[in-house]
Symmetry: C2
Subunit: 196 residues, 2 copies
């Protein structure tokens, strides 16, 4: 195979959720296409990578100095929602259930993948608590070992007497059939059962 094509396939295969097979299909599709699909994609990517950067406060991608959520005066101050990825911010915004400020970690601590606190956007949480008079931190992290470890680490490093920590409830999802729910979730749902 042509070395340029091979290199391009390798670059695409490194993207999240794309393997070598999909990368091969993508590259062939782009290079066979005569309508300039490859050029359009390349120029859109260049343009975006030059103008868009993570917000220095929360980590959401933005074209401006500060992102739309951090600069929105209508949003509630004092409540910080910590999420793993930028996409989680859009999920929560789409649901319209949170009106405070976000903080994107950019990942979770993981011994297996070698992700340490220095790799994550953790250092400035303490500053944000002071600057923004944060009184509650809501952890909206994945319900996994990595998510819980990250949560514990942040709680131990930014512990302050006047900051309340909370996490999303665990349990059976809406419409969830007990047949399809794993034992761990069932145990949590039993433990946290609500009085009626």
């Amino acid at each position: 195979m042509n070395p340029k094509i091979e290199r391009l396939i390798k670059q695409f295969a490194k993207l999240p959720r794309v393997g070598t097979r999909a990368a091969t299909r993508i590259v062939f599709e782009l290079l066979q296409n005569k309508t300039g699909k490859a050029q359009n994609l390349a120029s859109a990517l260049l343009d975006a990578s030059e103008t868009i950067h993570p917000c220095p406060i929360c980590g959401v991608l933005t074209e401006n100095t500060v992102c739309e959520y951090c600069s929105d005066v209508a949003r509630q101050n004092g409540c910080l929602c910590i999420v793993r990825d930028i996409s989680d911010v859009y999920v929560l915004e789409k649901a319209g259930i949170f009106h405070g400020r976000y903080h994107v970690l950019g990942g979770n601590l993981s011994g297996v993948s070698g992700i340490t606190p220095a790799d994550l956007n953790i250092a400035n949480i303490a500053d944000r608590i002071k600057n923004e008079n944060v009184s509650e931190i809501i952890f909206a992290l994945p319900n996994t070992v990595e998510g819980k470890t990250t949560q514990q680490y942040i709680m131990s490093t930014v512990a302050m007497p006047d900051v309340v920590f909370s996490e999303l409830a665990s349990g059976v999802p809406l419409g969830g059939d007990l047949d399809y729910i794993d034992d761990g979730t069932l145990m949590l749902a039993f433990g946290d059962r609500k009085k009626l």
Copy 2:
């Protein structure tokens, strides 16, 4: 969400085997990355799209006037293997079982997807038969309704008395457990059973 990011996600989501979810992950990953991953990908894509084009004879992607397979004098003339996609050529080459010439259609006829003979690289098959003294055409197309329809169409349009047509055998794959084989394949395998 920022309109530039949204547009980029839409462009990635149109690539084969990439949906909106994967495209979102890819775009966030590229734009958050500080090591120039987005710029590198964009420039590799631009470079490849400017220098690489389908071979005018067979359709394989190449940097040269004619591809490595059509220009290889060591390859056997007179036997043409018709495949659907460029990736099929690499699959066959990796297996090392065919040493003739290839012909890439770039798809299969499909009423549902609206793919007509004009969309495929079919028109010059007749010329190739004459110019290259082709005596056998091997169809290595998918074993699907679309693949068989395309095969029938090509056989009816390029029919010549001295050209033999053949197709890959259907049956149980090596290591195939009968439990996991569909009824259609089993029927074909029974019908084409070999005398011992």
